[in-house]
Symmetry: C2
Subunit: 339 residues, 2 copies
DNA sequence: GAAATCGTTCAAAGCGCTTTGGTAAAAATA
DNA sequence: TATTTTTACCAAAGCGCTTTGAACGATTTC
């Protein structure tokens, strides 16, 4: 059933039916009602592609995961995009996904742009000086960055959590508890978020006249295995840290394994603070001891990014949004006074 | 730059240019080359929606995550779809994602179908007697199921791993090692895969004249927390199992925590076998002791499902594929003889 | 009562592509 | 050489929608 058929059935022109369905004012109330009812009765839906061709708007947003992450698709992504789905659906937008793969990420953007497949893209996992920004600027493709990109002058829309502040405060808390040697098991530091976290960590130490021992820190994949390895390495040093800050709950899983293996009691022998993205399968609160965290829901961020995205493409004249979310520092059982 | 402009620039008709670019034979070799070169030079890409409208094919596949999973978006999904991306990209197909959300899953399918948004959908996480099958049959929408659906008579395309066989063999291995009391911490058993796994487990016990103590088993969410809770509950029973079989690596994380807390050494005091989907962030081999697993790459499955999907929509007359993948049982350090 | 305004409706053009049904020139066949 | 076939190309229709511009009767204004 298409527009023409529906119109014929109603003894109306396609014009009027289209207008009635799309809520234009120049349609009589009685007619509108009749059209709505019959459309529903026949389960009529306008053909997506015809509408898109006619309006010139794709009604779709692209999510492209970087190619070099393909070896390790971010487990956060599912949650990030899940938050967005409802926002998009409510506005008749679809999500177009390109998850890693061989194809160069920039070529995907180019394809999207020239083919008109999407009205905008969400940039995930930005790195320091990320080239995607300039590329997208050049393509005149609207985009929102989840995170920020340090060292770039151009303006762009972003939503980020206060990674710097979160890790500053986490470090400060540990210092206040008497810890003087504090380790950091970070994500890969060419990612902007991990870079910011290290800066916060170092600044807090510095503010108290401490300095970060390079041996106490690491930058690597956020896997259980790496969490285990780094924790073990760091805690086996001659004069090891009494506290560790970790970039994700997955690292925590490995850290706990390492601590157990070494016979160290978390919260007493070694304090732990981790960043918690609110992943549903790894709950910080239910661990024993429950975990002190810097918490921020990746799902909520995904939802908000979707809203910003829609805002930008609805009104391209509007000022580009910048949102910095503060991060909760939730003190639980894994942090205690230094021995 | 669109077709018409490109054609004018080349002093050719849009027809010829279109044919040249799409590899039709009725174009001279010299002309084809000239067209290809200029198209590349201008970075010309046909407008997606125009092409889709003209051909009637969406060149897109839908991935819809069940609404009731929205509370817990499957962490496996990212990997599943990552495997598919290249396959689709190579054939000019896009992935349309609808991850959970408010909207009823069946209404999403209906929308996809009537709007012509996708050429087919992949059905994820099928349940016993899953209603989606009949719905999609009714919509005449091509689909491939990842998994199977027990208790259904109608034929449909699927790819599944041999969950029954995997858990049968895992259980048998433990019995052969002398274990007589074996626990099962399963996924939610209204999912078909979890149901099959329990059947394999029970059959193996039964074949050796043992029977499954209901207290030794559980069916629940595959989270770290649930793994911890169930392991603790089961191992604290009066006459507890000497071995456990677990549905996922996430459950293992919790199980290890519980075992450590209870002072039990895995592989000696209690044997563990888990199913490993090959998630990159949780490595069975690198655990201590390394974990005995039933292994099957979810990523490879995602890739193959994509191929099957393309096969079906390319040639709708072809017989519906059914693929049952055998599962590797990899014996590592977490299984030992019963005490 | 004539002119202007308003509320509804429609015919037709256009979005950018593919595809059908040609045609003219070149090559093969008779 | 005349005829058929092949090759290489094109004009125009059509995919299903939105949107422009016009039409027409009903209502309001002067």
């Amino acid at each position: 059933m298409n527009l023409k058929e529906l119109a014929k059935h109603l003894n109306l022109s396609p014009t009027t039916v289209s207008r009635a369905l799309n809520g234009y004012p120049e349609v009589g109330e009685a007619t509108r009602k009749r059209v709505d009812e019959e459309a529903r009765r026949f389960g009529y839906r306008p053909n997506t592609h015809a509408r898109r061709l006619a309006t010139g708007r794709a009604h779709a947003i692209g999510y492209v995961l970087p190619a070099d992450k393909s070896l390790m698709i971010d487990p956060l992504f599912s949650d990030f995009v899940a938050g967005a789905t409802d926002v998009y659906a409510a506005h008749g937008f679809d999500v177009m996904l390109h998850a890693g793969g061989q194809e160069d990420e920039s070529s995907v953007y180019q394809r999207y742009s020239q083919g008109g497949s999407v009205d905008g893209v969400v940039v995930l996992g930005p790195r320091l000086g990320d080239p995607r920004i300039e590329l997208l600027n050049g393509l005149h493709m609207p985009y929102v960055v989840h995170g920020r990109v340090g060292g770039l002058t151009s303006d762009f829309a972003w939503l980020d959590i206060d990674n710097y502040g979160a890790f500053y405060r986490a470090t400060k808390l540990l210092i206040d508890l008497g810890h003087r040697r504090i380790g950091l098991i970070n994500g890969l530091e060419d990612f902007n978020y991990a870079h910011d976290r290290r800066c916060g960590y170092e600044k807090a130490l510095q503010d108290r006249g401490l300095n970060a021992d390079p041996l106490f820190t690491s930058s690597g994949l956020m896997t259980e295995e790496n969490g285990y390895r780094q924790t073990k390495r760091i805690l086996q040093l001659a004069n090891p840290p009494t506290a560790l800050i970790l970039g994700s709950m997955l690292l925590v899983a490995g850290a706990m394994r390492a601590a157990n293996e070494m016979g160290l009691l978390i919260g007493r022998d070694v304090s732990l603070i981790a960043h918690d993205d609110g992943l549903p399968f790894l709950n910080a609160q239910s661990l024993v001891p429950s975990l002190t965290t810097t918490s921020s829901s990746i799902r909520a961020a995904g939802e908000r990014v979707a809203q910003l995205m829609l805002g930008i493409i609805t009104d391209p004249e509007v000022e580009l949004p910048h949102e910095l979310w503060s991060v909760d520092l939730i003190v639980r059982g894994s942090t205690g006074p230094a021995l």
